[in-house]
Each structure stands twice: as structure tokens, then as C-alpha cells.
């Protein structure tokens, strides 16, 4: 096997906040009827349950996010993603669904620091002041689609397509430069 690497190999920059590409991360997209008992039963052993509208739940280092009325995104270890995707696919059997390991198709960034919000305020049409913890917000950052959530105190996790990871890091780096604080 070739050596798997993330798009930016963990590049990071520190200005008034720290922006970093998170490196290899497992991401599994799940499209299905979110009310499906099969889905609930398959998630149960991982300690996860289907999150409510725009919610993100976490257990044992994995997170599960509500992406749309028929879509979830599971964040897990990079190495375990293929098996999780295969197991979920098998669990669904003939039930109408689609589970895909998209780990190599997406990039994960972490924005951290007390002023982290201000990095995204300049890039996204989102009222950051009203965004609660563990709520997935899909939007755009400048010209590219992103999704982010408050994953912990002073920490925002953001995903975008891997093909725009360089562009995304450019945005985050410039937006977080010292002197560019909003407040």
C-alpha cells in the first residue's frame, strides 16, 4: 500500500488564532432514512445515536453530525473508516441507503483560540454569536462550501473538499493574521 497523506500534511499557522489542517481523519458519509431502525441499531454499538436537526454527537473519539434530512457524517479514525463503512453498508442490506468512506475526499481543519470565531466571521455568512456548541453549520467560506461546528471550548472543526484544501488554508491563514482581529 502507498502511504496515505492528508492534503496539507498537518500544516498550521498561528496568528490571533491557530489554524491547522488536522491530518488524516476518517470520514464516512451516510445517506439513508434517518428514522431507520437499522441505522439506529448499527450506530448503537459505537455509543452513537442519530443526532437531531443540525446536531453533532460524540462518543469514544468519534463524532456523528446531522448534515441534511437524509444525510449524516461520521468522523472516526482514518484506519477504521473503511471497515465502519463496509459494516454499515452490510447492516443496511437491501434498505435504500448509501454509505461511503470519504476520508480521502475531504479535509478537516481546526481553528483554535479565544478569537477563533473572528477567523470565520470574515469568511462565512453566519451569525457566529448564535451558533451553539456541537451544532453543524453548513455554509460557504469565501468561494467554497464548508461545514463547521464548535467541537470544544475555543475550538471549531471545519471540513471542506480536499481539492480546495490549499485554498481553504490560504483563507484561514490570511483571516487569522495578527492585526486582523475584528473586536
Amino acid at each position: 500500500m502507498s502511504e496515505a497523506v492528508s492534503a496539507l500534511k498537518g500544516e498550521s499557522h498561528t496568528g490571533f488564532a491557530t489554524v491547522a489542517e488536522a491530518g488524516l481523519t476518517g470520514m464516512v458519509t451516510i445517506r439513508a432514512d434517518l428514522g431507520s431502525k437499522t441505522l439506529a441499531d448499527a450506530l448503537g454499538p459505537m455509543g452513537l445515536s442519530v443526532p437531531g436537526l443540525r446536531g453533532v454527537v460524540a462518543a469514544d473519539g468519534r463524532s456523528l453530525a446531522w448534515m441534511s434530512p437524509d444525510e449524516l457524517m461520521l468522523f472516526c479514525g482514518y484506519d477504521e473508516a473503511p471497515k465502519i463503512a463496509a459494516d454499515l453498508t452490510a447492516a443496511f442490506g437491501g434498505e435504500h441507503s448509501l454509505v461511503v468512506n470519504v476520508s480521502d475526499m475531504r479535509s478537516l481543519f481546526v481553528v483554535s483560540g479565544a478569537k477563533g470565531d473572528e477567523v470565520l466571521m470574515k469568511l462565512c455568512p453566519v451569525d457566529m454569536a448564535t451558533l451553539p456548541q456541537m451544532e453543524m453549520r453548513r455554509t460557504r467560506a469565501a468561494q467554497t462550501g464548508v461545514a463547521f461546528w464548535r467541537s470544544g471550548p475555543g475550538e471549531i472543526r471545519l471540513i471542506c473538499f480536499r481539492s480546495v484544501a490549499g485554498y481553504m488554508m490560504g483563507l484561514l491563514e490570511v483571516s487569522s493574521r495578527r492585526g486582523g482581529e475584528i473586536f
Partner: protein, 107 residues
């Protein structure tokens, strides 16, 4: 700038998160229709100064298509509802009538 609530994910989506999808509630005329009817279906669009029913997609968001009733002059959004709706919900129509007495209806 226009803010339109997405009925699927509940986000108060700002215009640049959305893609405009033109007039809503169009019904395709069948293969047996005459040329004039097909031309009307294909090309003739409402362009009111006033209440307009539109398709929008939350493209930089949950990705879903939805329908919206909007005033093209005041930019007031009267309401949004799922795309799987063949005509505007009755309560929305009542709300618009109350606000815009001059409005002649959605058809």
C-alpha cells in the same frame, strides 16, 4: 441582501448560501400539448412586481431544493416550504392575502 429560512435544515440562510431556481409550481405540459401551450410552459414566466413563488436551493448548506413566497419589491419573505408541495400551503396564501390585499392569487 436577502435572508431566507431553509425549511429543511432551519438555517436562516443568507442569499449567497442559496441558488435561485426561478418560478415555482410550473407544471410540464405533456407530449400531446399544442405548440402554444408548450411554448408557454417553456418560456413564459411570471415577472411580477409583487408576490412571487420561487424555487431556491440551499446549495451552500443542506443541499435541498425548497419553495419560497417572496415579494419582489419589498423583498419580504412570506414563507418557505418543502419542494414536494404542488401548491402553496393554504395558511401561507391566507397570510399573503392579509398582507397584500391587492394580490390576485398564485395561479
Amino acid at each position: 441582501m436577502q435572508i431566507i429560512p431553509c425549511p429543511y435544515c432551519g438555517v436562516e440562510a443568507e442569499e449567497t448560501e442559496l441558488t435561485y431556481g426561478h418560478e415555482a409550481h410550473l407544471k410540464r405540459v405533456g407530449p400531446d400539448s399544442d405548440a402554444a401551450d408548450f411554448e408557454a410552459y417553456m418560456f413564459t414566466r411570471k415577472n411580477p412586481k409583487g408576490v412571487h413563488f420561487e424555487r431556491w436551493r440551499h446549495s451552500n448548506g443542506c443541499g435541498k431544493w425548497f419553495l419560497a413566497a417572496r415579494h419582489t419589491v419589498t423583498l419580504e419573505v412570506f414563507g418557505t416550504y418543502p419542494a414536494q408541495t404542488t401548491e402553496p400551503p393554504a395558511e401561507l396564501v391566507e397570510k399573503i392575502k392579509a398582507k397584500c390585499p391587492e394580490w390576485k392569487g398564485w395561479k
